[in-house]
Symmetry: D2
Subunit: 359 residues, 4 copies
Amino acid sequence: MSSHFGHQFRISTFGESHGGGVGVIVDGCPPRIPLSVEEIQLELDRRRPGQSRLTTPRQEADRAEILSGVFEGQTLGTSIGILVRNSDARPQAYEDMKDTFRPSHADYTYEAKYGVRNWQGGGRASARETIGRVAAGAIARKVLATAGMGAITGWVSSVRDIHADVDPVAVDRAAVEAGPTRCPDPQAAEKMIEAIDAARRDGDSLGGVVTCVAHGVPPGLGEPVFDKLDADLAKAMLSLPACKGFEIGSGFAGTLLSGLAHNDAFYAEGDRVRTRTNRSGGVQGGISNGEALVLRAAFKPTATIRQAQETVNRDLESRQLEAQGRHDPCVLPRAVPMVEAMVALVICDHWLRQKSITD
Amino acid sequence: MSSHFGHQFRISTFGESHGGGVGVIVDGCPPRIPLSVEEIQLELDRRRPGQSRLTTPRQEADRAEILSGVFEGQTLGTSIGILVRNSDARPQAYEDMKDTFRPSHADYTYEAKYGVRNWQGGGRASARETIGRVAAGAIARKVLATAGMGAITGWVSSVRDIHADVDPVAVDRAAVEAGPTRCPDPQAAEKMIEAIDAARRDGDSLGGVVTCVAHGVPPGLGEPVFDKLDADLAKAMLSLPACKGFEIGSGFAGTLLSGLAHNDAFYAEGDRVRTRTNRSGGVQGGISNGEALVLRAAFKPTATIRQAQETVNRDLESRQLEAQGRHDPCVLPRAVPMVEAMVALVICDHWLRQKSITD
Amino acid sequence: MSSHFGHQFRISTFGESHGGGVGVIVDGCPPRIPLSVEEIQLELDRRRPGQSRLTTPRQEADRAEILSGVFEGQTLGTSIGILVRNSDARPQAYEDMKDTFRPSHADYTYEAKYGVRNWQGGGRASARETIGRVAAGAIARKVLATAGMGAITGWVSSVRDIHADVDPVAVDRAAVEAGPTRCPDPQAAEKMIEAIDAARRDGDSLGGVVTCVAHGVPPGLGEPVFDKLDADLAKAMLSLPACKGFEIGSGFAGTLLSGLAHNDAFYAEGDRVRTRTNRSGGVQGGISNGEALVLRAAFKPTATIRQAQETVNRDLESRQLEAQGRHDPCVLPRAVPMVEAMVALVICDHWLRQKSITD
Amino acid sequence: MSSHFGHQFRISTFGESHGGGVGVIVDGCPPRIPLSVEEIQLELDRRRPGQSRLTTPRQEADRAEILSGVFEGQTLGTSIGILVRNSDARPQAYEDMKDTFRPSHADYTYEAKYGVRNWQGGGRASARETIGRVAAGAIARKVLATAGMGAITGWVSSVRDIHADVDPVAVDRAAVEAGPTRCPDPQAAEKMIEAIDAARRDGDSLGGVVTCVAHGVPPGLGEPVFDKLDADLAKAMLSLPACKGFEIGSGFAGTLLSGLAHNDAFYAEGDRVRTRTNRSGGVQGGISNGEALVLRAAFKPTATIRQAQETVNRDLESRQLEAQGRHDPCVLPRAVPMVEAMVALVICDHWLRQKSITD
């Protein structure tokens, strides 16, 4: 079940960085949702490499083909198959990594787990694997939009120690897409570009944080006690390559407050129950409360760097490694559509689950 | 599926804070594991209320009864049923919360989701629900110990801004259990006690962080791409009441480093591949690498406080609420066995999954 | 996952024939369904031993206790825990079966699978395990009734070669419950009683077939391609002890007809699409078509007999076995509530699944 | 989850009879299993249309492409993606079925369930959907063969009232593949051909039974109480298009025997426990006992016939229908590889599950 995600809106992915292609099966999508391949392509284009000088120079058109499940512009309710071919694969560039484990990559652990690995560019552990997620996320977003839910907007809120100064609930996609960093704070964005350019020159890399807000999530989504909305979001984030941390609402900073300072007071706004503050991040007891869902995901600096590193090979011999494959000096801008896709998948899954018990 | 957790070692829980009792079914436990009810009771005793003055005065013996799945001191391989009766239930104490939503509790969201709720003491959202997890976790620990795996040790690493100064891989249970805070740094522990006592006097509450280390986890556990070991751990942590954040290894702090500084260099130690540093936290590409598993979980300050708070009732009328139910001014000490249990459940599940593909 | 059944309305069971008790957790039950323990008890009473001279003399009151999930007479939407204590356990009666495998029982296979078994009366393979299913089925029936669905009626349609001559869609519970055989054809019922009495006198046993009809199932239930309604029903039936065959609609006899003779012509009845015949048994392409669901389940003659039988012990030594434990000479009458419960569980599960994709 | 099957060896399928293609993702396959596309193609060639005059004249090369999960001739342990393009699609041939429901097809029920359907040739309900299953089954067979398990052999044991007279445990693939009927009894095969030819001439169709035997299944496979080996086999069979019945071992005929006549006596053969007879069909208490697994699946006569039939259209108007699409007068010969594939998938899944609890 390692390539499956979701309970009611369920995706299964396949594919490695090199080989015939990558893709996804989306199962449980409601029928009669208008859907075009262009809507999927739009999100894939935000994820694909080579978008700007900030990302890996690998060129992949990443053109999606819908193989099934959509007929005359509408979903059928049956499983949707999507395929994206690999095109700019240069496996020979990875030849010297065949036997040598790249530090902080998944080379060693895949070897330890499976006794074999596709050493061409990261194989299944490559970020190319997220193509299927982003394609499926585009469908989930369409389902949610059709149901009247609001936007899911992610952005780069920090790169290293450079932080965006924005009001989370006010950020919209236009501001995010205004520049190559996907940071909606222009001043911070400029500093981030400088830092990323410097890291590239140094053959080094940077990490950072993506913040994501989902608007218009109705109260009641999330299944206690294990499939809490925030628990599934945490899993979704940590399942992304390079993600090392997750917060919902106040997160770690919330531990510095007392209960009195932290609690979100309730008040009535028309026929809605609202909270004065949103330290809960839109989730209480694992269930959405109708406030904006606010989460943060930490991405470590890219493991691939162009500097000499100490490592070992499969025979446990000491080796010096200098990475040569193409890489992103900072994955954060491309992580944004991945984060959004996973958030959309989780919300969509829980929305369908909730429908099954609603009158 | 909301009350199920795990794929191969799977638990299902039931029970509310008030009612006949709480419990768990453990399914997929290997046969012929020596198991006594005392081993389960030991962990429940660490979780139960009334252990010390730091915790809620609610008195519950929390005696576990094994109903099935264990025969002549050994597991049978079939499902294990465990029941713990509720005894010190005082539902009338919650009468005035019947219609009024306690801020930052799950009262409102349960009402929004289900249109009904057991308003007696939190119902299913109560921390009493974790009894089944802790009981199941005790079994998972026994399975892992039988397989030769090392200790799983959690502790309170911070309360508000008071941080324990310890070497994570050196902390053992004796140091953790030495005092009521479950903080292995005696100086910090003392300050924590003062802070918690002050919070109790003020009718306020505190949050903090639990750190947990799992020793002796073999390389190869974790199922890419969605059921990564750290993804399942993140879900496990966020499924605990009051948890708002999760980190594996370097976590959010790791985003401040460059790739060169962050990468964990490999070296050989005998026939083992080791890393010089452990910023990965024992997981690379979602799979354990044989280093100590190191994770952190943030718990917000307890929502129940004895201070007046603004809220609304079910009719959306404005209300002032003063909490009167018994409560923990700081859940952190009791969260330790919960964290450990969830970590044990995740590792055990992945260990069994890995066995199915190993020669 | 061996003790779990269902996707959206999911049950987990525990318990052996001897030990603390048996029970079930029902997860995914919609909230605000009126439910009393008496409704559950009613079905358990139909299943329990000692109802009539046709069944095993084992005396078990089989009193159900609802431990959670029901509050003030309504379901809460959270997991429902139900416990039934074992009372008339006489493990010593099975002492001589500790090492010897009873033919066509599960003694040998449990030993082969787990390397250990609870040899007291069948352990987990005992028909007592179905108590949890019947209790959960009673809840599923209540959910379906609340949704306006019709009756689910099973009956003994044959014992050995004695067949009931009835119109399947006209059978109602009153006719079924009129006698101890649960065969609604009085002439056949009389012959069945004679045959069962004779089998008991001979220390032998009989098998037969249970037919079950579900009325008022709306069109659209069933999830192609694997979770077809009839596929899940087949699994449900074969998961019952002693079941060796399953048919939906025309079943095996349908293979004797040509397509022209077998096809069910469509016609319109008001705003409903109906079929002239119902060889499909209410399911086409794995999805309900609105006609009565008609299925049959074959139960082999009870393996426990009071005659000498050839067998081996755990040391592979040849042994003669004479069964001495209490037993049913014919399980068919008690199988009826089990079949109905499983049918109710499957329909309820699919009804909830369908709701998640319906506007 | 409707397009998913299996717990540990899990497949997900996509695709309709017309559209870009059909395929499967196989998840949970152990690593380092030698696998070539030719091994998959071999089974697809047995399933594909146009093999002989007995089957539909639709021409499809059904060439499989492995998109991922296999590297240098070995499985990687990660998900295997397989694609088969649709080539001879003639959707216009189905134009007049756009609004009219074909009797005993899934047209009406898909419409009732989803409110939309791909009316071109059956869409998702087409037997083309089984391509993914057969491809996945070929991989499962390879896994089982690598583990030393014996052959899985299916054959046409009856067409209408023409029965093969063979010893089930002695049938091998050579005898099955000797003729276009896949009936290993040459006399019966000849009569079957005549009957099928006559049915074709009459524009009619025939059904029948496939028997399948799995050799060398070790004792201990199957997970009580719900995921019994025979319960999962029953689901697997009933999930196949046109299947209406399932039997394991003695099946319905077993209900005619008394317990004494039906029980399988145990004896020792070397270090193996054997049974004198095999009325259990290789499964006792839901767990394999080491004897040959023997099951039967009933397939109704093909619903597509070239004769006038009464039906209605989407507006509930009465219509006469004459089928014009290409079809099989008898699906039985092509059902054999489908049955074998599903049996292989179930056994492989349970074999991996059993490994997780074995020392």
